[in-house]
Amino acid sequence: MPHPANHWRVTIDLLTEILGRFLIQFQSPALAFLLGGILIAACGSRLQIPDAVYKFCVFMLLMRIGLEGGIEIRHGEIVSMLVPAVAAVAVGCLIVYLGRMVLIRLPGVRPDDAIATVGLFGAVSASTLAAAMVLLEQQQARFEAWVPALYPFMDIPALVLAIVLANIQKSSASGVQRKKIRIMPIVLESLQGSALSALLLGILLGLLAHPESVFETFYDPLFQGFLSVLMLTMGLEAYSRLVELRAVAHWYALYAAIAPILHGLLGFAFGYIAHVLTGFSPAGVVLLAVMAGSSSDISGPPTLRAGIPSANPSAYIGASTSVGTPVAIVFGIPLYIALADWIFGSAA
């Protein structure tokens, strides 16, 4: 850590560093395809990625991440995952809890919508995670094999907490004695979603089977390509959802622009603590920050729609898809990498 005396120097260095990374990152394929998607959608392009292809991309990415994790966990030690996993749960819950306190106070924001929104931003986006992993892998940064497995540890608590809070809110508002919310069905529902079950199946197959040949000929080499297609789709989607976002209070857009970075820094801080306590790798810290900064795009929305049906999906999905995810990828990822470079040396 640098001496506090020359902290101006350091701030400027950091900013230059981040700026430099930005320019590089803007050219990284994942980001470029995301921005490209937004751009051509804004130009009125009729290009569409078929739904079947989009779903297959998601499957490919999560299976690839899971398989790699599973194959490597075999050789690694899983106990060291404990502290980071606790950190992930804490970050997920904190984002929802603190976020709710802020958002619910804003004018024109319905409590239900607020809680659903913070739930979505507390949850994790698999595609944002994949984009960060590709970038780190290209920079030869090593992280523990089990890092992607932290995903559900942050994702599920955030969603569950949001649904529980919404129910408490509703019953206290209506004055009726609230009926006890059963948590296990929500957890199960989350785990059964297409994204998480592909990830978990991948880990399982990586652990127990010998999928190396298919990993090396299919899931690994095509990873980047399918990620680029997914990013393009998300860019197209981000633009087309803007219309919906415009129909709701502007606070959502503001929250969606700021929250990803704050959440990411919170995740970074918790990751840093885990680093000090247990030697959690710098690249792992970056990925924890990326998860925290991301907002769920695949499994979160339907879970929240079912769990908080009274919330308006246009508010939370619009905020997350149109603003949150682009900010998390475009500004968040390079920020955390630069931060890690600065704090840990060239490790990340």
Partner: protein, 106 residues
């Protein structure tokens, strides 16, 4: 040979399609038909045909041929009560002439 009957149509979010179908069966219907749909109503546009990042929000159109008005009413009312406050959707009836009428009675 043909017999008057009532067809209940429910257009709602795909996300709850399975639950609505279960409700319809619980009301005693002998069957139902589901079609993927897009549309626009008082909420937002839902398209049936493109890669939405959140596909679960597009629509379905569910049709149930019921043997009598009573069952039709029951289906429509239960669906409205249970779902259409929180989820977007509409429901309406049509009069149809069924040809193999025994198929629609339990």
């Amino acid at each position: 040979m043909s017999l008057e009957a009532v067809k209940v149509v429910v257009i709602t979010e795909k996300l709850i399609a399975e639950k609505v179908c279960a409700l319809i069966e619980a009301c005693g219907a002998t069957g139902y038909t589901v079609v993927a749909a897009g549309g626009k109503g008082s909420r937002s546009i839902r398209s049936a045909n493109r890669a939405r990042v959140v596909d679960e929000f597009s629509n379905v159109k569910i049709e149930v041929v019921t043997p009598d008005v009573a069952m039709a009413n029951q289906i429509a009312e239960s669906v409205i009560d249970e779902f259409l406050n929180d989820y977007s959707g509409i429901t309406y009836f049509e009069t149809v002439q069924i040809v193999r009428s025994q198929k629609f009675r339990r």
